[in-house]
């Protein structure tokens, strides 16, 4: 019943897949951001687990910086989203095709 590194890696994989499904099927951009948070968090779990089982602090450092990146991403992303919502009154992904890409 010992919990090893693989347990945490499997959990991280499952959470990452859930986040990936969310990114694929969400149309609303706010919900897309939530799915991105899930992706970042699942990777954080893997980093900290590896850091614990190898007795190395680098993993925790990386998780720390990932959290910092996620925080700034949310700030900028939500700011852009509010500007878009003010101008177009919706935040659906399908309507954001003004660049005809």
């Amino acid at each position: 019943m010992d919990i090893g590194l693989n347990h945490y890696l499997v959990l991280s994989t499952i959470l990452f897949s859930i986040g990936l499904v969310g990114v694929m099927r969400r149309k609303n951009l706010l919900m897309l951001f939530l799915a991105t948070e899930i992706l970042l968090n699942s990777v954080n779990i893997a980093f900290v687990a590896i850091s614990h089982y190898y007795g190395d602090l680098t993993g925790q450092m990386f998780a720390f910086f990932v959290i910092a990146i996620a925080a700034s991403e949310v700030a900028v992303g939500l700011g852009l989203l509010i500007v878009w919502h003010k101008r177009h009154n919706n935040i659906d992904l399908d309507t954001m095709s003004s660049m005809r890409g």
């Binding site: 019943m1 693989n6 945490y8 706010l30 939530l34 602090l57 925790q60 996620a70 925080a71 700034s72």
Partner: protein, 191 residues
């Protein structure tokens, strides 16, 4: 034994919460489930002995990021149900392939890394917070400062993007000025 029980309990709860956050059609449910999932993830950090990171996870994610999302949701119309993409077969196939490859890589990573040595080994006789401080302010000082500058840039960007027209104070303006402002606003909405 208790570690195993805690791990399985929190793994179950986290997966359920994130599944709800991804699949529900109500924005408020998704936000609440995500906040709960973040707190459960901090439990893993505490189990793994990364106390500092667990505290940071609760403070930053459940405190700052979730509050930011909650404020963002107030701007948007979240009462209507969210529309979902109709499943594209190729996308689903590509997604499952990607996830399967990911599983294989993650499983094989510890086997490849059997001979790795700790670059910054855990200091004996120091708490987790102390260790983090020792490594963060010696080896990772420059990335730490860069991250600080990046957060400052993100903060200014958020203020500039979201806070337009916030310099006008409605309490200090006369009636005519307020009406003019509202007229301008209506014009912008119509255009």
């Amino acid at each position: 034994m208790f570690e195993a029980i805690a791990f399985y309990l929190f793994a179950f709860l986290t997966i359920i919460m994130f599944y709800i956050a991804v699949t529900t059609s109500q924005a408020l449910y998704a936000l609440t489930a995500l906040a709960a999932g973040m707190i459960f993830i901090s439990a893993f950090f505490f189990i793994l002995g990364a106390d500092f990171l667990g505290a940071v996870q609760i403070v930053v994610y459940s405190g700052a990021v979730m509050a930011l999302y909650a404020f963002g949701m107030m701007f948007f119309d979240t009462t209507r149900d969210l529309k979902e993409k109709k499943g594209n077969k190729y996308i689903v196939a590509g997604l499952s392939t990607l996830a399967a490859i990911l599983v294989v890589i993650i499983f094989s990573a510890p086997i490849v890394g059997d001979n790795i040595k700790a670059l910054y080994p855990v200091v004996e006789g120091a708490g987790n917070t102390q260790e983090i401080g020792l490594v963060l302010f010696t080896k990772y000082l420059v990335p730490f400062e860069v991250a600080a500058v990046m957060l400052l840039v993100a903060m200014i960007a958020g203020i500039v993007l979201a806070g337009k027209k916030m310099d006008a104070s409605l309490t200090l303006m006369s009636e005519e000025e307020i009406q003019e402002l509202e007229k301008e606003k209506n014009k912008e909405v119509l255009s």
